[in-house]
């Protein structure tokens, strides 16, 4: 079947999912999965085929002819959308089932299919107006999914914040698309790198899409929305929805002429997001907030790669730019897979214990071995450690940066700091996930809820296994996904590149396979050896401490204490400290909480000031007619003066 027919099938199945969702849960799942599979097939047929798919219809929507296009870049994102969309639907079947949530689960079905469909529409539409319509639909669907559990106050607040932030971004996009349409005389989107007059529009696109992607100072909506949404929704938000922002940046940096400074600026934004995002993540005590801030970091990694590519464009299309872009696009995929896996894992923990606070968990490995193993796998992948997929994409980005640095041109000025910041972000990411995994799954249970946890069922486990499989396969055989990535890189600025596989990638895959085999062998060998000896079980020795208690375990905040001390200037932690006094101290307290610093310290006060200003202006409107007449007279006199002055010149 052609991509067009497959896309039609996908759209039809998702429509059927929307219609049937509220009433028939089982057929909804079938329809959504069918839609996801058909969409994936369409994306893969474009990625593996040579030609893009393009379709002009005679049908017009909003006065514009429908123009659809699926090329390498959009197909790569579409494939990710279908994988996470399908996996999330299966996961929701158990996680947000109709038995537990009779009111919101049917609504959830409807909005889920709607979200997948509208994001697909954004990806395939090649007309500015339809792009905006799809964008708005997708924002609204995501809003209703975030607020599924709207009885809770913080969920409503998170949804509201998301809606406001998204629309602030959309304002920029309205400006972007309408200026583009005004300058080119058509809403149609296509490569237009030759029109130098369009160059400044890049900044509008960067701001608008940056809000959706959650780059550092614009990320304010992201943590609360991800933390308060149901976990399958957090997974698609983090795995795919924020990538739509990346899609926009990649798409329009490829189709429009870019300013010369764009590369440096995007790398700078990316490196800042990576380092500060992960610093915030490490300091969090709420598991899902940690994952959300970690998404800010990964968006930063992706933008470092995109920035490298833009830098190369202004440096005579150097080959290292393609390498960095390949790394970035592969990281889009990888982050989609492992972050969805981690959010599913977090959901499974939340489902079993009812809390996201890491300091109330612990010791879950006994009751939840599957979740533990899969979360650990996701943690290794997200910390970009070999031999999993996260390392492959970061390695490509690093290679691009190193090559840019060895080229010794001006590009090195941006590449060298970015590489160092990427390394620091990587180290903190590793620390964050060592902390998260250890606090949740290791040690002894800190609360009764953690003691009585239970393993998740098959519907929740299967999508986690599938995503873990994606992480392992891309890690061990990056060669398999390389043609897809080169196809996307090739259609970025519509320049053909040789689709040859870089030799180190094959070697890296082989090394990863060898490493996996060696690790498995060594682990089995040591395990055998330890059990062949005289093995005893006893309480943790802990230097001979006789009565280790549960509350003596290291907590999440103390684990992060050193690094969050270094980043105190940006984290601005709130402290409550009561020191012990006297010979027989009664009680001592030390509490530390990292607030949503950018939101509470910057955006909050600024919005309050704006509201105050607006309220004071409102005093002019009081309903007294004589004053209104005075305004008119003053206004007329003012205009008259203006005209007279203007006329005198």
């Amino acid at each position: 079947m052609t991509p067009g027919a497959l896309l039609l099938l996908a759209a039809g199945a998702l429509m059927a999912g929307i219609v049937s969702g509220p009433w028939f849960a089982r057929s909804w799942l079938t329809f959504t999965l069918a839609g996801a599979i058909a969409g994936l097939a369409a994306a893969l047929s474009v990625l593996f085929g040579a030609a893009d798919w393009e379709w002009w219809s005679a049908f017009s929507l909003g006065g514009e002819l429908v123009h659809l296009r699926l090329d390498g870049v959009s197909a790569l994102f579409l494939a990710l959308l279908c994988v996470v969309g399908g996996a999330g639907a299966v996961y929701a079947r158990e996680y947000w089932s109709e038995e537990t949530y009779p009111a919101s689960a049917p609504r959830g079905h409807l909005w889920w299919s709607g979200l997948v469909l509208s994001m697909g529409l954004v990806l395939v539409s090649s007309n500015g107006l339809h792009f905006l319509i799809g964008w708005e639909l997708f924002t609204v669907c995501a809003y209703f999914l975030i607020t599924l559990d709207r009885q809770r106050r913080e969920v409503r607040a998170a949804g509201w914040l998301y809606l406001v932030a998204s629309h602030t971004g959309t304002v920029f996009l309205f400006a972007f698309f309408s200026t583009l349409a005004a300058r080119t005389g058509s809403w149609d989107l296509h490569p237009m790198q030759d029109q130098a007059a369009l160059t400044p529009l890049f900044w509008l696109a960067l701001a608008g899409f940056g809000v959706k992607a959650g780059v550092f100072p614009l990320h304010v909506w992201l943590p609360s929305a991800h933390a308060n949404a149901p976990s399958h929704v957090s997974a698609i938000l983090s795995g795919v929805a924020i990538k739509m922002g990346i899609y926009g940046i990649v798409r329009f940096s490829g189709w429009l002429p870019v300013p010369a400074e764009a590369g440096g600026v995007v790398i700078g934004i990316g490196a800042t997001s990576a380092l500060l995002g992960i610093a915030f993540a490490f300091a969090q005590n709420d598991l899902k907030r940690l994952l959300a801030y970690c998404s800010v970091e990964n968006i930063g990694v992706i933008l470092i790669g995109v920035g490298g590519a833009l830098l190369a464009v202004t440096n005579g299309d150097a080959p290292w730019g393609r390498l960095a872009l390949a790394g970035a696009l592969l990281h889009v995929w990888n982050h989609g897979a492992f972050k969805a896996l981690l959010f599913f894992g977090a959901g499974s923990v939340l489902h079993a214990t009812g809390t996201r606070e890491m300091s109330k968990l612990g010791g879950l490995w006994r009751t939840m071995p599957w979740t533990t193993g899969l979360f650990l796998l996701g943690s290794v992948a997200v910390s970009s450690l070999p031999p999993l997929n996260g390392f492959v994409s970061e390695w490509l980005v690093y290679l691009g940066l190193f090559d840019a640095a060895t080229s010794k041109g001006t590009a090195a000025w941006a590449a060298m700091p970015a590489a160092i910041m990427l390394a620091m972000a990587g180290a903190i990411a590793m620390a964050s996930f060592a902390k998260a995994g250890a606090m949740i799954f290791l040690g002894s249970p800190r609360t009764r809820a953690a003691e009585q946890a239970h393993e998740c069922g098959n519907f929740m486990r299967a999508p986690m296994l599938a995503l873990a499989g994606v992480c392992v396969v891309i890690g061990l055989a990056p060669i398999l996904i390389w043609p897809l990535v080169t196809r996307a890189v090739g259609s970025w600025r519509a320049v053909e590149i040789a689709p040859e596989v870089p030799a180190p990638l094959i070697t890296l895959g082989l090394v990863h396979v060898a490493l996996t085999i060696l690790v498995a062998t060594a682990a089995a060998w040591l395990w055998r050896k330890a059990h062949a000896t005289d093995l005893r079980r006893s309480p943790t020795w802990d230097c001979g401490y006789a009565m280790p208690a549960v509350r003596m375990q290291y907590t999440s905040a103390s684990f992060a204490g050193i690094v969050s001390g270094w980043f105190r200037w940006v984290l601005q932690p709130e402290r409550k400290l009561r020191r012990p006094h006297g010979n027989f101290p009664a009680e001592a307290i030390r509490l530390e909480r990292v607030p949503e610093t950018v939101l509470e310290r910057i955006i909050g006060p600024v919005s309050v000031a704006i509201m105050r200003g607006s309220t004071s202006v409102r005093r002019l409107q009081h309903g007294r007619l004589q004053f209104y007449i005075l305004y008119l007279v003053v206004g007329l006199i003012g205009l008259g003066v203006l005209v007279m002055l203007g006329g005198a010149q």
Partner: protein, 302 residues
């Protein structure tokens, strides 16, 4: 066939020679203090003894407690395999292998921290927290160092990067990498491998609850890591690629000995730093590597 022999040769060097270094360091320390000290081969005896001993597992520990050290050991060994051994070269060399090496060390760190957290002990939690936190600065220093070698040699493959001399920034790089070596291997002034005060330690405190064969694996891995950094430091600073194979081997051996004795001397002459000063020293190491990077970059531009 030759490949297999090559791998075996490298394995033999790394696995058999590594435990010698801690013995030499202890001998130097004893010599400075005027004691006779333990034999140079003490770690071999310890490893053999531990390998035969029984294991005590914490009731809280999951299988990761035993598997973690095994994975960490393989990761360190894997990083060592990528490092060229003077004239013997590396087992495997490809473009970008330097990054794999850095991240294999990170994998080893993740496994150690994970295994430490298994016990639910506050001491081990403290050690793990310190280990992963200081790693942020050491990793920045290592990346700056390899970036400077990469800019200097115009390559991202370890064999090509380590063959020429480090150029004008060699002394800076040596000082920076030596500090990183001390921090990564938990030597004085960052950590004291001899202390019995758990509160003041990093690495030793993470392995408090390990015993028997897993502890042997951990100690052996730590010895490999020490040798690894000594070789990396020597090769980064000295132009081994320009010497004849025999001379290069000799120089490498001498360099590793100098580094090892240096560690022993530092350990004898310096006291351990207060913990709040550790980040300062690590930042200094990072800055040294960064200046080496800038010199490599400027040097090429002229």
């Amino acid at each position: 066939m030759i490949l297999i022999l090559d791998v075996l040769l490298h394995l033999a060097i790394w696995l058999l020679l590594a435990p010698l270094l801690p013995g030499i360091i202890n001998k130097v320390k004893a010599w400075v203090a005027g004691r006779r000290g333990p034999p140079v081969l003490q770690l071999y005896y310890d490893l053999a003894k531990l390998w035969r001993k029984g294991v005590v597992l914490s009731t809280l520990a999951s299988p990761g407690f035993v598997i973690g050290p095994a994975v960490g050991w393989i990761a360190v060994l894997g990083a060592a395999m990528l490092l060229p051994l003077g004239p013997a070269g590396a087992v495997l060399s490809f473009r970008g292998d330097v990054l794999l090496m850095v991240y294999l060390l990170a994998l080893a760190r993740f496994c150690t921290a994970w295994a430490a957290m298994e016990t639910g002990s506050a001491f081990e939690g403290m050690g793990a927290a310190r280990e992963v936190s200081y790693a942020v600065l050491t990793e920045a220093a290592i990346i700056a160092a390899v970036l400077s070698l990469s800019v200097q040699s115009g390559s991202t493959s370890l064999v090509a990067m380590l063959a020429p001399a480090a150029g004008a920034g060699a002394m800076l790089l040596a000082a920076g990498l030596f500090t990183v070596l001390l921090a990564e291997n938990c030597r004085v002034p960052f950590d004291d491998p001899n202390t019995h005060l758990e509160l003041t330690m990093i690495h030793e405190v993470m392995v408090l609850d390990h015993s028997g064969p897993p502890l042997a694996v951990i100690l052996h891995g730590a010895a490999i890591k020490l040798l690894f950094f000594a070789v990396l430091l020597t090769e980064a600073v000295l132009p081994l690629g320009k010497l004849s194979p025999a001379a290069a081997a000799g120089v490498l051996l001498a360099g590793v000995m100098v580094v090892t004795v240096g560690v022993g001397l530092v350990e004898s002459l310096l006291a351990r730093l207060a913990f709040r000063r550790v980040p300062l020293l690590l930042t200094t190491a990072f800055l040294l590597c960064l200046f080496a990077l800038l010199m490599a970059w400027k040097g090429g531009a002229e």
